[in-house]
């Protein structure tokens, strides 16, 4: 048990180091940081002094270790655009993105699972076919177009929902939340729907496939043979077994959802990290870019690790399957 956890932790550390190296290379070598910082009139001596002050003349290995050390202490430098510490900027934008992503993932689960179960149980029903085909629209139209169409219908034409932003937020000190106000919830509806659509399609199709797979396994056949009610079999046994991989994958997908939130945030002017990152890319604000990269990697690794440990706790046998790659 301990060995397994340690090995997983070790791997996570290696992944993080690799990402850190990437972020460092970007930070250090993509465009001269000094050029990004000073004006044209800055003399060569002043540039050299700044270079020295920033430690850019030290051996690369030393610089990298310092970068990692700083990153581990949440010190990512100062944003070129905002003249503020990147860690502060990211921290202030994190709640918006997490609330958006997590609620989207939940919505996709809550809607996608029943649809998938139905489509899996009644493969040939016309409703199943409609679910399948219509859900493809979620992956056949670019997210940004879906977002603006939702705004057009529900904000401009109907006037029901806000067209942008988070509405009224409540500052809890460490976290600004939109979940405690009505306007906050109303503001969530459109962006969450936009972001969830893609996930929903995936989850529905995954649940359907898993259900179909599970329903043909032996233990379901035995259950049938034992004369259990269809309802009990479908929901008591089949669904339970089909859901395990679904929840795992949804968890693992959270990293992608956060990244995909970049588009949703852009369309809805949602003040999250994605918007910050996109602006950083457009303005070549490298400290923000590399910090965001590290943060996404960290979230992904952390989620991955949590899922692994959870698996281990629930069912040690699964360890082998997962170790073999999913």
């Amino acid at each position: 048990m301990l060995a397994f956890i340690l090995r997983r932790l070790g791997q996570a550390a290696i992944v993080m180091m690799a990402v850190a190296l990437l972020a460092f290379v970007m930070f250090r070598f993509v465009g001269d940081p000094v050029n990004q910082m000073v004006g044209i009139e800055t003399s060569l001596e002043e540039r050299e002094a700044l270079r020295e002050r920033l430690g850019l003349n030290d051996p690369p290995v030393e610089q990298f270790l310092r970068f990692v050390w700083n990153a581990a202490n949440f010190n990512f430098g100062i944003s070129y655009q905002f003249k503020a510490p990147v860690s502060e900027l990211l921290a202030s934008r994190l709640p918006a993105t997490l609330e958006l992503s997590i609620i989207s993932a939940l919505l996709a689960l809550v809607v996608g699972v029943p649809m998938g179960v139905y489509a899996g149980l009644r493969r040939d029903a016309w409703l199943s076919r409609i679910f399948l085909t219509v859900s493809l629209m979620g992956v056949a139209l670019p997210t940004f177009l879906i977002g603006i169409l939702l705004i057009y219908v529900f904000s401009v034409l109907l006037g029901w929902l806000p067209s942008f932003g988070r509405g009224q937020t409540v500052d809890l000190g460490f976290w600004t939340t939109g979940l405690l106000t009505i306007s906050g919830w109303k503001s969530l509806i459109l962006p969450v729907t936009t972001l969830a659509l893609f996930q929903l399609t995936l989850i529905m199709r995954l649940v359907r496939a898993e259900m179909m797979e599970v329903l043909r396994t032996d233990f379901i056949k035995f259950a049938r043979a034992r004369g259990l009610q269809t309802r009990a079999i479908n929901f008591g046994h089949a669904l339970k077994n089909a859901l395990v991989p679904v929840i795992t994958i949804t968890g693992l997908q959270l990293g992608s959802v956060i990244a995909f939130a970049i588009i949703t945030e852009t369309v809805f002017q949602w003040p999250g990290m994605g918007l910050l990152f996109l602006q950083a890319v457009q303005n070549v604000d490298i400290p923000i870019m590399s910090a965001y990269l590290l943060l996404i990697a960290f979230l992904f690794v952390a989620i991955n690790l949590a899922v692994d440990l959870l698996y281990f706790a629930v069912d040690p046998r699964l360890r082998i399957t997962r170790a073999a790659g999913h």
Binding site: I78, K83, A84, P162, F164, Q269, P271, N283
Partner: protein, 529 residues
């Protein structure tokens, strides 16, 4: 463009007041396409940032609705000697933190704005001496007579010396700082509003300054500013009533905003001139298939480009009527004899002939740099220019990119890395000397001379005239000199001027605003009914 602010003599502030009752009382929800990154008034020489900060900070002067220069923190000023200006400061003014405004603050602000990290160094001559005469009198001593010394001081905001010293904000906030700049996140001005909260790129909340010295022509109790970068989202937010005021309204959406029962569009001429520039300095053109020479050094080629542009088509189709084709590099509102100048006609056949005479009968290839988020329809204009030049055989490879990247490439820090570009310019002083100096002055490779003369146009006679214009105090004589200079530059086809674009603001009905031709928002003139 780092052009700062404009003056407009005409274009009287347009004011709209339409009846509508609203429960949201006196909170103004306001959106702009860009964000307010820093509260430090010397960090970024950009129209929106300075305009927004102008509601919190004040200069010695300010500009009224018609852009006339008015007293603000200075009540009056006079020339004591040809090189010594005396400014009398307003008494009893307090900064938001309660400190008194004194001559020391002016001297400090002068020193700070000239600091190495400042982006607004052009507000004062580098060699100016500031002498504190008494608590409310300051002298500015220049090395030579300068009749337009204070023309841009409406955006040189005065900061509190004690506050800056106490908070380690004596030097302007720059990206080279390794710590968070205090002045970038906190403001302490004398203006009509104070900053309640500021989250860069997210939201900035302003509240009225209860101790403001001037009478307020506004009933706002709160201003919430949100940047909304996406045009479609910004328009949707206005149409759906989520915001009260926003700009710019994309030209194609003006009709929609007009037709909507709840909203209104305010359109007015802007002072900014949009133009095309050409590299006339390098011996071999970059991004071109012409090797060993530079076609733009030949006046006939520049003229051919000019003749190839169908400015009316751009006005009708791209700008939807919202532009004023221009023959000069300055708005007609800013120069008396503008009417004496006419654009070269649209004549693709003539253009082809000119190219042939110049030895480019088969055309040539050239790269064009263009911003895609800076001016009204900038990318679409560049695309249209590309198509028009194709018709005279010139193949233009368009490189349209966000302004941050664009400016980094084409301006001095990027080594003027461009062959052919689209740029906009508003003379910060609202005066022709600014245009002649910045856009037409001969420069070297480092940019000494005409710093924004990206193409390196050079005519020493124009420089001579500019030097005379700078010190000439007689208005008539000065205008004649300016006219002579423009005759030289248009004769040389130094640039291809395109048009002055229009301001397009969108407001919810019931909100009355005063539109200024320099596109600055004076929140202290906004009322909500």
């Amino acid at each position: 463009m780092k052009s700062g602010i404009a003056v407009a003599l005409a274009a009287a502030g347009l004011s709209v007041t339409l009846g509508a009752t609203d429960m949201r009382a006196e909170t103004l929800r306001f959106a702009f396409q860009g964000s307010l990154n820093s509260l430090d008034p010397y960090t970024l020489n950009e129209t929106f940032t300075l305009g927004m900060l102008g509601n919190v900070y004040e200069g010695l002067t300010r500009r009224g609705a018609n852009l006339e220069i008015m007293p603000a923190l200075a009540t009056k000023w006079e020339v004591v000697e040809p090189t010594r200006w005396r400014f009398h400061l307003r008494q009893g003014v307090k900064f938001a933190n309660g400190n008194d405004f004194t001559a020391e603050d002016v001297a400090f602000s002068a020193q700070r704005v000239l600091d190495e990290g400042s982006d607004l160094k052009t507000r004062l001559p580098a060699d100016v001496k500031v002498e504190v005469v008494d608590d409310h009198t300051v002298d500015f001593i220049t090395s030579s007579p300068n009749p337009i010394l204070y023309y841009e001081w409406d955006t040189w905001y005065i900061m509190d010396k004690e506050w800056a010293e106490a908070n380690d904000a004596v030097a302007p906030t720059t990206a080279a700082d390794l710590t968070k700049g205090y002045a970038a996140f906190n403001a302490n001005g004398t203006g009509a509003f104070v900053v309640e909260s500021h989250e860069p790129g997210v939201k900035t909340v302003l509240k009225p300054n209860p101790t403001w010295w001037d009478t307020r022509n506004s009933n706002l109790t709160e201003v919430i500013f949100t940047p909304i970068a996406s045009n479609a989202t910004r328009v949707a937010a206005l149409l759906s009533g989520d915001i009260d005021f926003m700009y710019p309204v994309p030209t194609q959406d003006l009709k929609r905003v007009e037709d909507n029962a709840e909203t209104e569009a305010l359109v007015g001429p802007e002072l900014r001139t949009i133009f095309l520039g050409m590299d006339q300095m390098r011996d071999e053109l970059l991004y071109s298939d012409v090797k060993g020479k530079n076609p733009f050094k030949d006046k006939r080629v520049r003229e051919a480009f000019y003749h190839a542009i169908d400015i009316e088509a751009i006005k009708q189709k791209v700008m939807r009527g919202l532009s004023t084709p221009s023959a000069l590099m300055i708005s007609p509102f800013l120069f008396t004899y503008s009417d004496d100048f006419k654009r070269l006609d649209y004549n693709p056949e003539g253009a082809k002939k000119l190219l042939e005479e110049a030895g480019y009968g088969d055309g040539f290839e050239v790269g064009m740099d263009c911003p895609n988020d800076r001016y009204v329809n900038d990318e679409a204009i560049c695309q249209a220019v590309t198509a028009m030049l194709a018709k005279i055989g010139v193949k233009v490879n368009l490189n349209a990119q966000p302004k941050a990247l664009y400016f980094a490439k084409v301006l001095a820090p990027g080594g003027y890395d461009t062959s052919f570009y689209l740029l906009g310019w508003t003379p910060g002083s609202f005066d022709s000397w600014n245009v002649l100096h910045n856009l037409h002055g001969c420069r070297n490779e480092a940019g000494d001379g005409g710093p924004f003369n990206l193409g390196g146009y050079c005519n020493p006679k124009v420089d001579d005239l500019a030097n005379q214009i700078l010190v000439e105090t007689d208005a008539d004589k000065r205008n004649q000199l300016i006219k002579q200079a423009y005759e030289l530059t248009t004769g040389d086809v130094a640039y291809v001027p395109l048009h002055q674009q229009s301001l397009a603001w969108g407001v919810r009905k019931g909100v009355s605003v005063v539109q200024r031709a320099d596109n600055q928002v004076m929140l202290y003139h906004i009322n909500i009914e």
